[in-house]
């Protein structure tokens, strides 16, 4: 089976996110009020071949944690969809 995977990588909560903070600081000057907790991240999409969803999830999670994110500072979130 083939699955579409989308992995979102963000810095862990509590780890400083300079990019998110800088964007947030710029917002009032552009007239955006009431926006808070801006966090930046990256998103990756790819397709995985696996016998079932569990196996696809394991493979994609390992890929995310070993390559796309450094679990020391980042966390990843996986969305999976059968194709």
């Amino acid at each position: 089976m083939r699955f579409a995977a989308r992995v979102e990588v963000q810095l862990r909560p509590g780890i400083a996110d300079p990019e998110g903070a800088t964007i947030e600081r710029a917002l009032p000057a552009l007239g955006f009020d009431g926006v808070a907790h801006m966090r930046a991240g990256r998103s990756f999409s790819f397709e995985v071949d696996a016998p079932d969803e569990g196996a696809a999830r394991r493979k994609a999670t390992e890929l995310a944690d070993r390559l796309l994110a450094n679990p020391v500072i980042e966390q990843s979130r996986l969305e999976l969809e059968a194709l």
């Binding site: 300079p18 800088t22 930046a40």
Partner: protein, 226 residues
């Protein structure tokens, strides 16, 4: 009186002192302008220098274009005032819509700080008016996102209107059509990735940037005289 050229400082800009020094070597006078101000203090020309305005967060130039001073810069450029963007300044000018196209990450996804050989390909700009078409200049580049790109129509127009002012002899970053610098249709707004201020002293390796900065100083003088 020496031409007064304003050098805009955004938080994160870092080439401002170098540009002021090199403008002086080219016979002009540079003064610093703060991004948070709304006016240009009556300067005769504006340089947006290199650096990492607002940390280059989001995209290089993406936040700087919203700095208060940029409204005045856009107005000044539309009125025909000379505006030059160097490196990060070029990125700001594209984000602000004063120049077409965009600057992507370098082809090999690495920061590059090295000498680049350039060919002058058009004199129709405030930055190249005193150079000679076909001249080769050695000027350092120093960027992560200097890979120029635009759509096919824009490229055709840039070529047709003689607005590609500098090209790389050996393309270091994957830029479309070897583009190192472009001008707007009127030639008063120019953006380039190489740093002419870093080629303003033989002691440091090259003086080839002086012809470009000298053109800018000369353009201001001729406007002032007119």
């Amino acid at each position: 009186m020496a031409a007064r050229i304003g050098v805009v400082v955004f938080p994160g800009t870092n080439c401002e002192y170098d540009v002021v020094g090199a403008l002086e070597a080219a016979g002009g006078g540079g003064e610093l302008l703060w991004h948070g101000d709304h006016h240009l203090s009556g300067v005769d020309a504006v340089v947006l220098p290199g650096g990492f305005a607002h940390g280059d967060y989001l995209r290089p130039g993406a936040l700087a274009r919203f700095s208060p001073i940029m409204e005045s810069v856009v107005e000044f450029a539309r009125a025909g005032g000379p505006v030059v963007g160097i490196c990060n300044g070029f990125q700001v000018l594209t984000e602000a819509g004063l120049l077409p196209g965009a600057l992507q990450k370098n082809g090999r996804l690495r920061f590059l700080c090295q000498a680049a050989r350039l060919t002058v390909t058009s004199r129709a700009s405030v930055l190249t008016a005193q150079a000679t078409v076909g001249d080769e200049l050695v000027i350092p580049i120093n960027h992560f996102s200097g890979n120029y790109t635009c759509d096919a129509d824009t490229l055709r127009q840039l070529n047709d209107d003689d607005r590609i002012v500098l090209r790389y002899v050996e393309n270091p970053n994957g830029s479309l059509d070897d583009i190192a610098g472009i001008a707007n249709a009127a030639g008063n707004v120019v953006g380039l990735m190489p740093h002419p201020e870093r080629a303003s002293n033989a002691l440091l390796g090259s003086e080839d940037g002086l012809v470009l900065l000298g053109s800018l100083v000369g353009a201001v003088a001729s406007v002032a005289a007119a």
